[in-house]
């Protein structure tokens, strides 16, 4: 009895010590897609490396500002107009054309030159004046008279527009990461690509992740096994005549949008969500409700610090 008593008492501190030992969480931070990507998984070092490889690959493929010596990318296609491309880039481009259809043109992969003009405006290298508006309209015409054709592994831009996949690249890369994690059976993960595209499994013990909203601090989402996309007027915004506009350009009007302040989309497919957080920013609420219902997406929308619409009353998504 005495020995049993001593054994139990000795086990308590040992158990305490074991409890405080680190779990198998692997973390890393990368500088990709012109933002920070945080990776946290409960897995092996090889899994972390593989995820980083996937994210780095799609960052290079979608880069439309510089060439990379080891891969043909969007910059190369824009420069050469016809180019043989890898399977992964062809897949990404085909997806962009598919999303153009699904968003009824509110996401357009050929918006490159229009987007470039607005980037100059955001960086204060240009002024918003009639000359700027005329140039935007001219590039819009070129975009509407351009197309992308893909035959086998040959990509051709027909017309004068440039490709820009900034609106879907992160989401598509995260989709590939999610496929890897699902195949490996890794359930505990949180990957945050610049706060605008996030995928998450579940925390240990089947718990929910707590997602804070930096502009709406009275609210918290509880989420697991979901993807989250965010578009916000507060990120890379443009000031025109004293009003704030988002960097998201309506491909039909060539104008930046300010119907909403922030749109949060929640669903299962991060690539779909990434494309739609761009597209929906230019649509009215009825259209948003129709589209999100069709594609089984949850949404929360803010304007002037007020929640103007949400797909459900609660803030729990799983």
């Amino acid at each position: 009895m005495k020995r049993l008593f001593v054994f139990i008492l000795l086990s308590i501190p040992l158990l305490l010590f074991l409890f405080t030992c680190k779990d198998n969480t692997k973390e890393d931070t990368l500088f990709l897609y012109d933002t920070i990507v945080n990776i946290k998984i409960n897995g092996e070092s090889e899994d972390l490396k593989e995820i980083e490889k996937i994210l780095e690959l799609y960052d290079k493929l979608s880069d439309n500002y510089k060439e990379h010596k080891d891969v043909n990318n969007i910059y190369s296609i824009n420069k050469k107009r016809t180019l043989e491309c890898s399977y992964e880039l062809i897949e990404l481009l085909n997806y962009s054309l598919e999303m153009k259809e699904k968003t009824q043109g509110y996401f357009n992969p050929l918006i490159g030159k229009v987007a470039f003009l607005y980037k100059e405006l955001i960086n204060e290298e240009r002024t918003y004046n009639q000359e700027f508006i005329d140039e935007v309209n001219s590039e819009l015409d070129k975009m509407n008279n351009s197309s992308i054709t893909i035959e086998d592994n040959l990509v051709t831009i027909n017309g004068e527009a440039d490709i820009d996949l900034g609106a879907i690249a992160k989401g598509f890369a995260l989709k590939k990461v999610k496929e890897y994690l699902d195949n490996k059976g890794i359930k505990n993960y949180l990957i945050n690509a610049g706060s605008s595209s996030i995928i998450m499994g579940e925390k240990s013990n089947n718990e929910y992740y707590k997602v804070g909203l930096k502009n709406y601090t009275d609210r918290v989402f509880l989420m697991k096994n979901k993807s989250l996309g965010t578009s916000s007027i507060f990120e890379q915004s443009i000031m025109i005549d004293g009003k704030l506009f988002s960097h998201i350009i309506n491909p039909f009007t060539g104008l930046p949008s300010n119907i909403y302040d922030t749109i949060y989309l929640i669903g299962d497919d991060p690539a779909l969500i990434d494309a739609f957080t761009t597209a929906l920013f230019s649509l009215d609420l009825d259209e948003i409700k129709r589209i999100t219902s069709k594609y089984n997406l949850d949404y929360v929308i803010y304007k002037d610090n007020i929640k103007v619409a949400s797909s459900s009353e609660g803030d729990t998504y799983d």
């Binding site: 001593v6 008492l9 308590i12 501190p13 010590f17 500088f31 960086n123 949180l190 997602v211 804070g212």
Partner: protein, 129 residues
């Protein structure tokens, strides 16, 4: 009671020592989670690299520090659990305008020079969007 203590004195001392060691280890691990670090990441041709990690929790008096990023000098001000950029040769000075950060979900980002400063600490939200 005194007889009990006398009889099992060795066992009590042994168990007490083990509990003390375990408690110390518990405090060490718990203490580590309260550390606030500023990690400076730099984008290089070979990928993202960590330039430096600064333990902000150990700072008692604020001080200034210069770091060299891709050949350019950036000046930081560091105080207890917070950091900011006070001078940088970048075009838009976004890093300076961001001011102090002490929150893991509000990193300082400079796309011009290709660096970011990320705070790591225990926090309420797992992620902030």
């Amino acid at each position: 009671m005194i007889n009990f203590l006398k009889k099992y004195l060795k066992e009590i001392i042994l168990i007490g020592s083990i509990c003390l060691v375990s408690l110390t280890l518990l405090l060490i691990f718990k203490g580590k989670s309260e550390d606030v670090n500023a990690t400076i990441y730099v984008k290089t041709d070979e990928g993202t690299k960590i330039l430096e990690v600064i333990d902000l929790s150990k700072v008692t008096n604020s001080y200034e520090k210069e770091i060299v990023i891709n050949g350019k000098t950036v000046k930081l001000e560091i105080k207890h659990n917070a950091i900011r950029v006070i001078d940088a040769p970048c075009k838009h000075k976004d890093c300076i305008n961001q001011g102090w950060t002490s929150n893991k979900n509000k990193p300082i980002i400079c796309l011009d020079l290709g660096y970011t400063i990320v705070i790591s600490r225990a926090d309420d939200a797992d992620v902030v969007v």
